[in-house]
Symmetry: D2
């Protein structure tokens, strides 16, 4: 079954990912993986690290002549910044006074620092933050880009974008066609569909940066052309929306997730939020609304998937919060590790990626996914079958 | 490791659950399991089925003389209503015209009916709804009640209650002590802490029922006295908040989940939503706020866990929505299966239960959980260790 | 995915099993399940308990009118012997001097008794042996019988039989057709194919019983008509032979497993043990030998699967071994719990069952297994495809 | 929980492994990993490839200054031979006539070639064999070497060696002390304990090579100082011996596995093969024999673990077997890919490695394994507890 592991520290030599279960025969477009990596590095509001890194994937396993073999795919994204940290983050050389500089001893509230130290018995919290850092999401984006290409082979398209930054909401009209969304968000550096909000948000980010403060936001992922019947209702852990919820909250800084109308559905009447069932000869069964975000009973229902994710503001403030030195117990300002004002723009790519991964899992779970052409044949036959249900 | 499976249809003979990984030596209070089952059946706004069922658990494995053996625990909750359905839901006797009455052929929007039929090639959608029905949550509550008792053995307490019903919000002041919450919600039939809202919500439910409509709502679960360091940041699927998110969305009708401030955090500034770090000699490290709902980096941070769940209104309306007969393709009103006006009150117990299950998993993952007294020794030693970190 | 849990103690009220992932639409023959249960109770060399039990399965979930729903299937096998143990094995009533009679305090070498007591902090080792007892395999046989019926729907047939009892080997000529094996083993009460050995083995068992000793043996499972390509070589834990090895050793008393020629292959030359490749227009690729037992690279290769299992003799001797009282530390003879002289005959059904379960997992992993007729279509198309490879 | 993935093709750029769940604070001796890699490359009977490769591990994640961080550990072993294959095995450049030379179209019986081609729709079987090759075991040895070091931190020692090569058995006297075994096998290039058999086996290998044939053999792994109570009897998939069986059969070319006396136990009487229970004040409970190989009820029982693995001869013969061209269907001799006469010596390291991995899993499952010093404290306390049971 499709599953993956990642490894690598923020300033270590590289990020490594292995994904198992990608069918053989997939023509993998490496430029497209790098394109997703580039999008993750972009966006108004990012700090200086992104000027150092220009993430490029290297494929070191599972692919030959640009085509997947069916064996596990191994991906590497090098950390260019490691050049400045090669002693401090050396995997092998024993500790010396010189290579243990830049200790982190004043844990940053909102990060894993303090609890990570307690749990793993670290007293230099760099040993925690190097892994808990969102730098790791670069390799998840690379893995997600592979899954995205797999989904596209059976016509499933994904788009992740920014719906709200701090207090400013941007999209009142819900667009459900991925191509249209992609066209709109390409026109600005905020990945928002509503071009009229760009200036207001730029100003907000600028002001927030000056204040030494940070911003979060809300991300939306839309997936269209998904066949009905991925996931199942038979047990809680077969529900695909539940798996997507885990994948979303499993991304750094995410504090909430919604499917379709989400919390708004909770405050409405039943007659307002169900998607009535219709049928015609050409399309079979269909709906005219999508309040439920493409899910009924934990299964895709053929309507576009709509997932929203709530990202808390970045916890590293240049106007630092109160902390306590873990060794001396003195009350101090928290450490400051180089950071962004907001990472909502790149996070929209990360959330898109993890949703794509979960969909690729569900797809390959249901169908024979040994080979991509056999998979295409099966999905086509199944789409036809349910159209004539 | 702690894991479980459930089986059983809504009008079948019984619900069955097996949970593996419960430590030996746990004194299991069966009345307390039944008490949770009773709470799940209660609440203003429920329909008539609850008058038929008086759920009682029967323990058929893994327990001897009221004490767990360490072997898998098997639980049964009989469906009293099965008496009225014993032919239609007979597991063994082949189909006859008589025992296939009460077919469901007009799928209810918002339920698994239609997609379930397509996926599993059913044309009597009763074959879907019997399992997708929220009746299954009764056995999950029984399993959760076992986990809740396990948690209590190491001092961890859980409370699930109703925060909002339809448009009416009920709790502006956030109470984080489980005992106080329990005391308040025992005073009304809505499981809300704010007694002043009871009449308003009763009226709302009455009016909604008369309109043939339904209501959803928002549930909050609070867990206090949790040690820091359950879950981990090292990989997305080790994050405990992500697992809780899956468990919550894995409950019927849930369309959203929040940890701590959730979506509100997404629209605030970083300086407003982090929980600053403090320390004193008696308690070690602590926080004075809990915006992050007890989680940093996917790990518990020692503050109370706060989880919110958004439940959509029940999709079965007595004023039914449009549907299409799956066999004739005629546009018709959806089938009506006996249902509630709102199930938000019982759902608060279900959400509490699944959160308790995930916490019990995390607890038994981290510690040696073969035997409950050894587990207690370990948790006590660990609590002491991190207090002196 | 297809997975299952079981619960229940040897003298508790019942054994319970839940299996998830069985496709919808499977016509389940309950008599056939009971037939497997009956075979498991038979065989020369069994003790008196089998005269008490007449195992019958009850289906309590996942099946309606004899047809699976796609939801988890719940099975129950009642312990008739529980009537004699209902106080001692009462799940609920607290301990009393009366209901804690028949304590086991002298652990039997070769059983889980002693280590189970240490691990789970039990001092009445009945708390261990009630679960570690091979009584549990009755429910695994029931689950296996469901899987066996699923396999038969796509033409895959399984047979488990006895190859050796103690020092007496019985099958020099290897038969690979399941139907022929089934015919032969039905002719005796030892489940052996070589009728000429029946008397010799009866005598051996009789003598061993008189001596207060016990016997083990060797079991063979043959599976024919398996399509090539179940399992995979891409990672160790995708190899189907590895999963079968775990399932076999996961059965009580099994100390070894072989695929095909097994240990004999290890002592032969390469030119002797490979199955040369041939091809003709009608059959596609095929082999004329089956030294590798139907597996290459962890995948089925289209030849019959051959699995052998080594069962140690039953550790409960009527001429008991040395033990030590866990409470007093006095050296004593081990407890004697009612037992058989040999359980090799029933064990052959258990091994067949667990092999069938693993094959059903592999089958449903590879193909779309939501519905049995869709599964049949897919398997037929795949068989045809690889025939024309 | 401790788990891992590997990726990489035999002639691709590198082998990659990620292992998750290694505790923080483990001082990792890289030389010791390389030492295990070197042992895997040695042994009489290997072919020429080992003269090209001098495997060295590179750590690219999860370790800082030689100490594990608790985050996933990423390991790389470069394929030096890739220099000769960089076009043919290029991951990115599209296919050209030049870079698709050295096609494999005559599948080798006994390898994954043919079935892999059918399953994954490959027609150049190099796309199969590059992954199914035992080259992959190099990275499993590296991962196993990390686990071995973890085990050593709690006093558990492992040794893997050769018991039999082809028809020649070498160890009649069973040594159960790892240190003594290590001393003996260091004295020859066959990893056998019985020095008197070295010449005979050298001659056998030489003659077999001249004949263009190959040899398999039998491997034994001994693990001493294991605490009682790893694994459990409560369910089949909690049994540690079952997991070890899967890990062993999951290694290329393994066709059988035994625990303790294995198949010999199956042919003996019960009174001959149980390990009687004894007790003294200093040691607590103990045994004087180890027929059951350190396992009762799927749990370690405190005696040394004894695992045997049967390795079939290498299927690539220089005197090739019959095959069929997958494209033309002409009967031909199988392809010859550079290979060894026997790989039993390196395989003994591989089997040791996978046993070490499973033990490390069982250890970290049972105890709090976040940090190695806390783990040591827990294991010590537990060892003391069960000594005084």
């Amino acid at each position: 079954l499709l599953n993956y592991l990642t490894a690598g520290e923020s300033h270590g030599p590289q990020l490594t990912g292995i994904i198992e279960g990608i069918p053989s025969g997939l023509h993998l477009d490496i430029d497209e993986i790098n394109n997703q990596l580039k999008k993750r590095q972009g966006g108004y509001g990012r700090g200086n690290r992104q000027k150092i890194e220009h993430d490029q994937v290297t494929i070191v396993g599972g692919v030959r002549h640009g085509i997947t073999l069916g064996s596990p795919v191994a991906l590497v994204v090098n950390n260019r910044d490691h050049a400045h940290w090669n002693e401090i983050m050396d995997p092998v050389t024993p500790e010396t006074p010189e290579n243990t500089l830049r200790k982190v001893e004043r844990p940053r509230p909102g990060h894993a620092d303090l609890v990570g130290g307690m749990k793993y018995r670290h007293h230099d919290l760099r040993n925690v933050l190097e892994r808990s850092s969102a730098r790791e999401t670069a390799i998840r984006v690379a893995i997600g880009a592979v899954c995205k290409q797999l989904l596209e082979q059976v016509g499933i398209r994904t788009a992740g974008y920014v719906q709200q930054i701090g207090p400013v909401s941007t999209d009142d009209q819900l667009e459900l066609e991925v191509t249209k969304i992609e066209n709109e968000i390409a026109n600005n550096d905020l990945r928002i569909v509503d071009q009229t909000k760009v200036d207001e948000i730029h100003d907000l980010i600028d002001k927030t940066r000056k204040d030494g403060d940070t911003l979060g936001g809300i991300i939306r992922v839309v997936v269209d052309n998904v066949p009905a019947g991925l996931g199942s209702y038979i047990s809680w852990d077969t529900k695909l929306d539940a798996k997507i919820a885990a994948a979303v909250v499993g991304v750094n800084a995410m504090k909430g997730v919604e499917i379709g109308d989400g919390f708004k559905a909770a405050t409405s009447f039943g007659s307002q939020v169900m998607d009535e069932i219709d049928w015609n000869k050409d399309d079979g069964f269909f709906r005219n609304t999508d309040h439920l975000g493409g899910f009924e009973g934990g299964m895709t229902n053929g309507m576009p998937i709509i997932v929203k994710a709530a990202m808390k503001p970045i916890p590293t403030l240049y106007k630092p919060l109160q902390s306590v030195d873990v060794n001396t117990k003195a009350v101090k300002k928290a450490n400051v590790e180089r950071s962004d004002t907001t990472a909502i723009v790149p996070a929209s790519i990360v959330i898109e990626s993890v949703v794509a991964i979960e969909l690729a899992k569900a797809l390959t779970d249901k169908f024979d996914a040994d080979n991509v052409s056999r998979l295409q044949e099966q999905v086509a036959a199944y789409r036809d079958e349910i159209k004539h249900y």
